[in-house]
């Protein structure tokens, strides 16, 4: 059967199991949108292409499925770039389809033309310009395969308008053959038995877990290995929901705003097992002071992550789910040695517990002003275990990572690598589309919120009951904190001089708005918001100059923290 290019696209998406796409129409994708009109695929119209990408990203992060975006050529396509870069840095599977001017016009500076393959080359896992209708179905197949396999990531397909209307016989390929792309899933047996030995020989081991744990869905394997070996676990921002934070062996986050005990444990450990993490500079601080006393085992599916920033004693390339279960099995074969490990590391766990008691994650509660950490604790208390939390970027994001005790995988969606303000609201939108029945909360700051606040319209239009928590300090708080600590309190351009009436803003879009400026009303406000069936914006007027602590100043080792007094 002969189909047009745009029909082939939509048929292929269905073959990939896509039932929802996020996007925004325009001239260069008008044919796709015409066919979409009759397609069973649901389309969610955001109010900005960047938001469409973040929504697809949020959808992908909480489901593990590939997020799909459609945007038009030129400005529509360039608007997707921040979203794509966000997904790339956090290894999120996504396929972005952008319209392109007709092939004869490419390179002519045509109306709404932008070289999207050129622009997105450094921020996609791969990209394609479809130049021939014959290649279209195969290209889509390859795009989805590349996006979801190995270390996942965004893939862009640039689809010229003339290809969209050209007819061709549709046959969706059964398999892909990419001779240059063969990710390694199975960990090397010999390396794994060496890892088992190193672990059994350790006196002060620590697991340092990154976002790969959720991507690989290896959460149960990790818990099993942790309990079997009684090893303390510290998680990166990307992995806060990857390991239950109420677990006795959980150390919380490490790095710049990590807990005292996580940073001390990493500094003092004699074996660091990096599990799907990439030694980001926000994690390591001064690199030559990081885990100096430790041998390092690094498990990652992406070989480039290994030995990029730190020397590694034992690299293992593979999928965490496979490697961790192999490692667990290798250890289970040696019950006596395992028992010995658990008893000889008792002292280490006691030391870690002493650190926990000495400097627990805490803040000074106030009865007169609302502390942001208090609001976050209350949100945790009042929401379900499987509530999905998104954040923007800044102080509120760090407080959420520090104080929200995540318990289930894929419940914390945040822009870790790129640090994109304006991520949280559209990501929450995407998560709510994926799970209409679950609670979805965007924890935000007043600065970040204004970067994609137009998405209130999308929430209302699609009846998506996302709850928004704005921790309003009328500052760009994180930058202000740096200015306070390192720039002599010169608050250059970080004071949000104009107080926004967020309640009226929410109401203008048809959402509910609740304001809270009293500590005693915090709980009632959250409860009320959770009871309202539609989207609700809650504005909490928080203590303005609250800081995120602990903090490792730039250029310092992670043991050199500024602690909360």
């Amino acid at each position: 059967m002969e189909l047009t290019g745009s029909q082939i696209l939509l048929e292929s998406l269905q073959k990939e199991g896509v039932d929802t796409v996020f996007g925004y129409p325009g001239g260069a994708v008008i044919n796709i949108y015409d066919d979409l009109f009759d397609s069973p695929i649901e389309h969610v119209l955001t109010r900005h292409e960047q938001a469409a990408v973040h929504a697809a990203d949020g959808y992908a992060r909480c489901t593990g499925k590939v997020g799909v975006v459609i945007a038009t050529s030129g400005p529509g396509a360039t608007n997707t770039v921040t979203g794509i870069a966000t997904a790339y840095m956090d290894s999120i599977p996504m396929v972005v389809i952008t319209g392109q001017v007709p092939t004869p016009l490419i390179g002519n500076d045509a109306f709404q033309e932008a070289d999207m393959c050129g622009i997105t080359r450094p921020c996609t896992k791969h990209n394609f310009l479809v130049q021939d209708i014959k290649d279209l179905a195969r290209t889509i197949k390859e795009a989805f395969y590349i996006a979801r396999t190995g270390r996942p990531g965004p893939v862009l397909i640039d689809l010229p308008k003339d290809i969209q209307v050209t007819k061709y016989k549709f046959k969706y390929p059964d398999k892909v053959s990419l001779r240059g792309y063969k990710p390694t899933y199975t960990g090397n047996k010999r390396q794994i038995s060496k890892a088992a030995k190193m672990l059994l020989d350790a006196k002060r081991p620590v697991f340092y877990v990154g976002g790969g744990i959720n991507l690989s869905a290896a959460n149960e394997e990790l818990v099993k290995l942790t309990e079997m070996t009684q090893t303390p676990v510290t998680t990166t921002l990307m992995a806060m929901s990857g390991f239950p934070q109420d677990h006795a062996l959980a150390l919380g986050m490490l790095g710049m705003h990590g807990t005292f005990y996580a940073n001390m444990a990493v500094t003092e450990c004699d074996l660091l097992v990096a599990i799907g993490a990439r030694f980001d500079d926000r994690v390591t601080g001064r690199i030559d002071a990081f885990a100096k006393k430790a041998k390092v085992i690094h498990i990652d599916i992406d070989p480039t992550s290994i030995k990029k920033n730190v020397a590694v004693d034992l690299p293992i390339v593979g999928d965490l789910k496979d490697v961790l279960s192999q490692l667990g099995a290798a250890l289970a074969e040696k019950p006596d040695e395992l028992q010995k490990l658990v008893s000889k590391t008792t002292e280490w766990r006691e030391t870690v517990d002493e650190w926990k008691q000495k400097h627990p994650m805490a803040y000074k509660h106030s009865e007169s002003t609302i502390k942001p950490q208090f609001v976050i604790e209350k949100v945790r208390e009042l929401t379900e275990d499987d509530a999905i939390i998104t954040t923007e970027v800044g102080q509120h994001q760090m407080w959420t990572a520090q104080f929200f005790q995540f318990r289930q995988p894929r419940t914390f969606l945040t822009s870790g690598g790129l640090g994109t303000m304006g991520y949280g609201l559209p990501a929450a939108l995407g998560a709510q589309v994926a799970y209409p029945e679950r609670q979805v909360v965007d924890i935000s700051g007043d600065g970040s919120f204004q970067m994609n606040s137009q998405e209130l319209a999308t929430l209302v239009q699609y009846k998506l009951p996302v709850k928004i928590v704005i921790l309003n300090n009328n500052y760009l708080g994180m930058v202000r904190q740096w200015q306070q600590m390192f720039f002599d309190k010169r608050y250059s351009q970080t004071v949000m001089e104009l107080p926004i009436d967020f309640i009226k803003l929410a109401e203008a879009y048809g959402a509910a708005g609740l304001q809270c400026d009293k500590v005693g009303d915090v709980e009632a406000t959250i409860k009320k918001a959770l009871e309202i069936p539609g989207p609700v914006l809650m504005e909490f007027k928080i203590s303005r100059e609250e800081n995120v602590l602990p903090m490792v100043p730039a250029g310092k080792g992670i043991h050199e923290m500024v602690l909360a007094s």
Binding site: G118, R121, P122, L129, R179, Y181, D302, T304
Partner: protein, 163 residues
């Protein structure tokens, strides 16, 4: 340390920018680069010369391999290999200098491929050091123009590198 690396890539739209963009984006050094299709028309072979310590070279190798369009990466450092470069050199050759220029060209087993009353265009192939040597000797006569291909390399022995 200098490394000469061969990269077999899909001969497709934009592949050169993927490789060069990788080097510029990650701050890797690239001294020379030559590209052409192989026997299989859908595979191109790139030869590139780069510098860096072991850690950087390991990253270059891994990052090149990570590209979807890359089929194979071979770092020839520490291997036995033949290295050849082609250069064209337009040298001033007037009156009394013409004989001396030819003598030098002969010694290097180079060829004159274009002649005018005022110049010779010399073609030389060989290891880059040999070409450097010829250039040094011709330089005093006045080099008007020079173009070098960048080296290409092939491993010694019967085994071939293919996709």
């Amino acid at each position: 340390m200098k490394h000469t690396i061969s990269v077999l890539v899909e001969n497709e739209f934009g592949v050169l920018s993927r490789i060069s963009g990788l080097f510029s984006g990650r701050g890797f050094n690239i001294e020379s680069l030559s590209v052409a299709p192989t026997l299989e028309p859908n595979i191109s072979r790139m030869t590139l010369v780069t510098r860096g310590d072991d850690r950087i070279l390991e990253q270059i190798n891994k990052q090149l391999n990570k590209l979807i369009s890359t089929i194979k990466v071979v770092d020839f450092t520490g291997e036995q290999y033949v290295e050849r470069e082609l250069a064209l050199i337009k040298v001033t050759a007037e009156a009394d200098q013409r004989a001396e220029a030819l003598r030098i060209v002969d010694i290097f087993r180079a060829n004159v491929v274009d002649v005018t009353p005022k110049s010779y265009t010399v073609q030389i192939t060989g290891a880059p050091a040999k070409i450097d040597g010829l250039i040094e000797l011709l330089r005093p006569m006045g080099i008007k123009e020079i173009v070098r291909s960048g080296p290409i390399v092939m491993g010694r022995g019967a085994k071939g590198v293919t996709g």
